[in-house]
């Protein structure tokens, strides 16, 4: 026989599968130095700078880490921005004319059109466990 608490638990699992979704990003990087800074967004508005990231992560590349794992996410559309802070100064460095000098990338390995990759190119559907490898260049 099912107990009442067991039924409640089952109902909760059925109604909120979201909490079980996982995004796992493997970063393909050049120099094994510094850290990768990555931010995960759940809306176009937030991705475009109009809101906070749902998760942020710092991956110790010099220490051998390559993978960012985001657990317990509600299902839906997400996009990720990341850059390789090669010199570990906490900033995405630019040349004197403002062009990035440290590698960066977006989910789907999307590339922009004279700017950051758009949400339209970078977003992906998350349900269950989703894995991507993103090359930072």
């Amino acid at each position: 026989m099912f107990s009442i608490p067991a039924l409640i638990l089952a109902a909760a699992l059925t109604l909120q599968p979201a909490e079980t979704s996982v995004v796992e990003i493997t970063f393909d990087i050049g120099a094994p130095e510094g850290v990768v800074m990555a931010a995960l967004f759940d809306s176009e508005e937030a991705y475009d700078g109009g809101g906070p990231a749902v998760r942020g992560v710092r991956i110790d590349i010099a220490g051998g880490e390559r993978i960012a794992r985001f657990e317990g996410l509600p299902p839906g559309d997400y996009a990720l921005r990341a850059f390789h802070d090669v010199n570990g100064d906490g900033e995405m460095n630019t040349n004197p004319f403002g062009m990035p000098t440290e590698p960066f990338g977006f989910s789907n390995n999307a590339v922009g059109n004279m700017g950051p990759a758009s949400w339209a190119r970078a977003h992906f559907a998350v349900s269950g466990e989703t894995r991507q490898t993103i090359t930072l260049r």
């Binding site: 090669v86 460095n93 040349n95 004197p96 004319f97 062009m99 990035p100 000098t101 960066f104 999307a110 590339v111 922009g112 059109n113 004279m114 990759a117 260049r137």
Partner: protein
């Protein structure tokens, strides 16, 4: 039959030549004349031996002429809209032991890879708008590496002007990758017209609106210094020049007015502002002076020099305006005549009173060059192309202007050739400025092939002393350099 008024009118109508139909007919004739100059090359050109068809190989002439220019403009899914936006094809004309060889390879750029995958030209450029499909993460993603080529250290650098040099192997022409001179200077622009001192030191600019980076490199390509300087105005800068002591930056009144692509639509022609010339001390980039000159447009300058009393001189090929850049070079690609006056050779004199004065030599000329051994020092001659006409904005002749005598000598290959820029190659063991060969290719339009010519600079009007012929045609190239071996 007595022609009635009606039949007369009908016949007249049938024969009527309106300006439009005349223009179209002329466009077709001209296009068929020189369309090889902007034709597509479908792939790399494997090394081959050229056939000598005229004259004798000059004794002591040994080396390679490297040249660069766009050679792929059109793909089924979309095409470049401007001559300056095709993929760079790096040519190597070798002359050794009396034999000439030719090979050519495209710079293997991210642009070319992406456009090959899409089978469409999608990247924005000087006169081509970006296609929405283009994936552009950095300026070097649009870099066609198509404007010039220099030997720097153990590499060839295929140069554009808004992005990084592209390193290639001097022997195999295999692409090595973009050059980053220092990590914090990645993706900084590097013009296609560095100025090389006689000892090999390299000066160059990279331009971004009203600021420029001044590059100083050792002869082997090692970075010695890079500093950003302000410019008095955001002129379009394709080329600059230098004396032994000064950088000379000509600021034409084609001025950046808006942040749009393609590049050619971002500039306004403002002749009322005249042309300015910024002169900067190589040893102190903060020591500067601005000279005022009449308005002119230009792409290309010769090396500058200083005379007594603070006078600076340099040769320049002036345009009345920059309509060629904005429109004419689009028309060339589409086989339509320009109908505008070609550039004219002039000498610019900057005087201590702060004025710059132009003296035109009279010749319609482009691609000015001189004796590289005299870069930054007084010289007597300018080497250049000749023979461009409004209907045919490609040269038929090569010329040497003698500034002492005020005369231009030339050799006209005729309308059956498109003449590329030629280079000054000193004769071994001789130091005179005219003790040199002129080496450069033409497209022989009648034969449909590329030719390589050697002329004696002192007797340029006699024509080639030696000509080789290839079994392929390559389109017109922009710039290149000779590497003696």
């Amino acid at each position: 039959m007595t022609p009635s008024r009606r039949t007369f009118l009908t016949a007249a109508a049938a024969l009527a030549i309106t300006p439009d139909t005349a223009f179209a007919a002329r466009a077709m004739r001209v296009a068929s004349d020189w369309s090889l100059a902007t034709a597509d090359v479908e792939g790399d050109i494997a090394p081959r031996v050229l056939q000598r068809v005229h004259g004798r190989v000059p004794e002591g002439l040994s080396g390679a002429l490297y040249r660069n220019g766009p050679a792929k403009f059109r793909r089924p899914g979309g095409s470049s809209q401007h001559w300056f936006d095709g993929d760079g094809l790096i040519r190597r004309f070798g002359i050794h032991d009396g034999q000439a060889t030719l090979a050519a390879r495209f710079a293997d750029t991210p642009k070319r890879r992406q456009e090959t995958r899409l089978d469409a030209m999608v990247m924005p450029g000087f006169g081509t708008a970006a296609d929405p499909r283009a994936e552009i993460g950095s300026v070097d993603d649009v870099n066609p590496a198509n404007t010039s080529v220099h030997k720097v250290g153990d590499a060839l650098w295929a140069l554009w002007e808004a992005g990084s040099p592209m390193a290639m192997d001097p022997d195999t022409l295999e692409t090595r990758g973009f050059v980053t001179l220092r990590p914090d200077l990645k993706s900084m622009p590097f013009l296609a017209h560095p100025r090389i001192e006689p000892d090999g030191r390299i000066w160059n600019l990279g331009v971004n609106g009203n600021q420029a980076v001044v590059w100083r490199l050792a002869a082997d390509g090692a970075l010695e210094d890079a500093r950003v300087i302000p410019l008095p105005r955001a002129s379009y800068i394709h080329d600059f020049t230098a004396t032994a002591r000064h950088l000379v930056i000509v600021l034409q009144p084609w001025v950046h007015a808006r942040n749009v692509m393609p590049v050619s639509t971002a500039y306004d022609w403002l002749p009322d502002q005249g042309t300015q010339v910024l002169v900067i001390d190589k040893d102190d980039l903060d020591a500067r002076r601005v000279f005022e000159a009449p308005a002119f447009g230009f792409f290309h300058l010769g090396d500058a020099w200083e005379e007594g009393d603070g006078i600076i001189r340099f040769d320049v090929c002036t345009h009345a305006d920059m309509d060629f850049a904005a429109h004419g070079a689009q028309d060339i690609l589409n086989g339509v005549p320009l109908g505008a006056a070609p550039a004219r050779l002039a000498m610019m004199t900057l005087s201590p009173d702060g004025q710059g004065r132009l003296e035109h030599a009279g010749a319609a000329a482009e691609f000015p060059r001189g004796d590289a051994r005299r870069a930054g020092q007084r010289r007597r001659y300018s080497l250049h192309t000749l023979g461009e006409e409004p209907d045919r904005p490609l040269a038929t002749a090569v010329g040497v202007t003698d500034w002492d005598q005020g005369r231009t000598h030339g050799y006209d290959f005729g309308a059956g050739h498109v003449v590329d820029e030629m280079v000054h190659v000193p004769k071994p063991g001789l130091s005179g400025e005219a003790d040199a060969w002129l080496v450069g290719p033409t497209i022989n339009l009648r034969e449909g092939v590329t030719e390589l010519h050697v002329l004696d600079m002192a007797r340029v009007e006699d024509g080639p002393v030696c000509t080789w012929r290839a079994d392929v045609a390559m389109p017109a190239a922009f710039h290149g350099n000779w590497v003696a071996t």
